[in-house]
């Protein structure tokens, strides 16, 4: 547990250092980034491809697949499909992988605050969570 340093901003609360040092937090950050970084690269790249091809690959985009439906229309509609799809995947992923970790850490935060309040009120049994001095 790190001690607050002199040059930290006035409001800094060591409780956040405790949470940040936990394995669960490292895992939460890892899992969050593991989804958002590739997903962002995919949808930005996919959209950029769509826009650039619409402007510069007219032969390919104007190819009629059937009736009056050309590649350009399908490509555009696939942007809708991919947007809905990534949104759905992220929703499922965050509910199963991120929310439980985040909620657990938020509970630990609440518990530490309660312990601290108990100490401040003169209660001599501060519980299991180590409490550093008020900042």
């Amino acid at each position: 547990m790190s001690q607050p340093k002199q040059d930290q901003a006035a409001r800094h609360d060591p409780i956040y250092d405790h949470l940040a040092a936990k394995d669960e937090f490292a895992q939460l950050r890892h899992l969050y980034r593991r989804f958002i970084i590739p997903a962002t690269a995919v949808f930005m790249g996919w959209y950029a491809l769509y826009v650039v091809m619409s402007m510069f690959a007219s032969d390919f985009m104007n190819h009629v697949l059937f009736a009056n439906i050309n590649v350009a229309l399908i490509f555009g509609l696939l942007q809708f499909v991919s947007t809905f799809g990534i949104a759905f995947l992220y929703s499922r992923y965050s509910t199963t992988h991120l929310d439980p970790l985040a909620k657990q850490l938020a509970r630990e935060y609440d518990a530490e605050l309660l312990d601290r309040a108990a100490v401040a009120a003169g209660n001599t049994t501060p519980g299991t969570t180590p409490v550093t001095e008020e900042n």
Partner: protein, 531 residues
């Protein structure tokens, strides 16, 4: 006035009355600052999702994109796609982390770990600039729409409409606060979705639900033939215009998650999970809406002739409603026309209310209190100033909108998105994901992005040097594109990086731990406000 005008005016009045009643009701539930600024943080995912849709789907989208498809076919649709894909940036990178780390405004999450005054002033400046450009677009659109719909093409009607819209938005915001504004936006979203769904079904019935037939008729009737269904009619005339569109697309995708009136909506939910759900609802609604405009636009191209609506295409949607409702002269056609016109009017009202709320709140919370009152003003005083600011911004918007009527609405919307993408999004993302980011980085990024986007437009063919320019008699244009995003967005990031690296700020780095823990876990985040 003939019967149709009375019907249209009557429905407009009904929409206005409904929103006024809802606002008055919301004002009775508003007591503290959490109510006024963040709607008590008690809106569910679905409610906030509807409100986000109501805040986002502007008249420029509904009338403008339908009109663009009716006139230019595929390119209108191409334009609409960016507005949807953009929501993934908001969903994955911004909504939840912002909900957990901020309080009322965009500046909150910067001020969390940086020097408060400079970052709040910078964020408030770009908030007001983006909001004013967007407000002008909506108000100019309102003036044009009402005069076209009432069939009275006079400057007086347009100015009067701008004045009435301005007065209404001041009323919604000062009386109803965030709660009132949210209800107005939810009502609008329901009206807009059901109104356009009705017209979509009526259009599809005419083509026996055969999309290929609809597209074929649109292509035949457009006069452009197969090219109407292909990219390029609007944006493909030269290499410059093609790059210009790519620049626009980039601004649309990155600008949405930097629009201040969208950002503050994430604070109205009780948790970050609810904020996520609200974005999911919004994506569903907005995606469906743009699929509707696809049918509406091609439907207008297929069923109307270009002389039926105005040259800008803004009347394509209401005129299409009249046509599929039974045609000109029929009662059912007139009812449909009036209905869709009223929906468009509600659309404008909801969006301008959101913009006025955001900018007035930023003036009070980010500038007046921290800069002029040293952060010591009470919440009550701050709310009072926010209400006064709403009146002031409303007035400024009215005064600017009257001479701005010669400006192109689509241009104003694109400019708002470009500024949001260049000035706001880089600072938001770097703050949330880069430990070393600091005060100077944020300030440089915001002002740098703001000045480069507005500056490049100033030196573009929009301002001077072409026949359609604002100042057509002089030529000081050296930037070839109308859309600055492709240059100004990277500049926004670059200014932030240079500013950060040239003046390290250990306290901002250390406070990042707290910001990151709060952002990802919600520990210590602002909770739902309970009376």
């Amino acid at each position: 006035m003939d019967g149709n005008q009375i019907l249209t005016s009557g429905l407009f009045l009904l929409v206005v009355l409904l929103t006024i009643l809802v606002t008055l009701r919301a004002s009775r539930q508003t007591s503290g600052a959490d109510d006024y600024y963040a709607g008590g943080r008690g809106f569910s995912g679905l409610q906030n999702g509807l409100a986000i849709g109501g805040d986002y789907m502007s008249a420029a989208s509904f009338l403008g994109i339908t009109g663009a498809i009716a006139l230019y076919g595929y390119d209108g649709f191409l334009y609409s796609v960016g507005f949807l894909v953009a929501w993934l940036v908001a969903l994955l990178l911004v909504a939840e982390v912002l909900r957990n780390s901020g309080k009322y405004t965009m500046a909150d999450q910067l001020a969390f770990r940086m020097s408060k005054r400079p970052v709040r002033t910078a964020a408030a400046t770009s908030t007001v600039v983006v909001s004013i450009f967007y407000l002008l677009a909506q108000m100019v659109g309102a003036g044009a729409l009402v005069s076209l719909l009432l069939g009275i093409d006079s400057g007086l009607v347009k100015n009067l409409t701008i004045f009435v819209v301005g007065a209404l938005m001041i009323f919604y915001v000062t009386v109803g606060g965030m709660k009132g504004t949210t209800y107005v936006q939810m009502i609008k979203a329901v009206l807009l979705m059901s109104g356009s769904a009705l017209v979509v079904v009526l259009v599809l019935i005419q083509f026996n639900f055969n999309i290929a037939d609809l597209l074929g008729s649109a292509a035949d009737n457009s006069g452009a033939g197969q090219a109407f269904l292909e990219p390029g009619l609007k944006y493909g005339s030269s290499t410059t215009s093609k790059i210009d569109f790519i620049s626009l697309g980039l601004a649309l995708v990155l600008g949405t998650a930097g629009l201040p009136h969208i950002l503050i909506r994430f604070y109205t939910t009780p948790t970050s999970q609810a904020a996520r759900k609200s974005v999911l609802w919004a994506i569903g609604l907005i995606g469906t809406f743009y699929l509707f405009t696809l049918v509406l636009g091609f439907g207008a191209a297929a069923l109307l002739s270009k002389s039926d609506y105005d040259v800008a295409g803004n009347l394509a949607a209401p005129k299409l409603a009249e046509e599929v409702g039974g045609g000109i002269g029929s009662t059912s056609g007139a009812v449909m026309l009036a209905l869709i016109a009223a929906v468009a009017f509600a659309t404008i009202l909801a969006v301008v209310a959101g913009l006025t709320l955001t900018s007035s709140m930023s003036v009070a919370h980010d500038v007046w209190n921290p800069v002029f009152r040293n952060g010591e003003a009470t919440e009550k005083e701050e709310m009072k100033v926010s209400r006064i600011a709403a009146g002031g911004i409303g007035l400024v918007a009215i005064l600017l909108a009257i001479p701005a009527q010669s400006l192109n609405i689509a241009f104003l919307v694109a400019l708002a998105f470009a500024v949001a993408a260049s000035a706001n999004l880089p600072a938001i993302l770097m703050n949330l994901f880069w430990r070393r980011f600091n005060t100077r980085g944020a300030v440089w990024s915001i002002y740098g992005g703001l000045l480069s986007s507005v500056g490049l437009v100033f030196f573009s063919p929009v301002m001077s040097g072409s026949e359609t320019a604002l100042l057509s008699s002089v030529d000081f244009a050296w930037f070839p594109l109308q859309n600055p995003g492709i240059v100004s967005i990277p500049l926004g990031f670059l200014f932030g990086v240079i500013g950060t690296l040239t003046k390290p700020e250990p306290s901002a780095e250390e406070r990042y731990t707290e910001l990151e823990v709060r952002a990802l876990t919600g520990a210590g985040a602002e909770g739902e406000f309970r009376h």
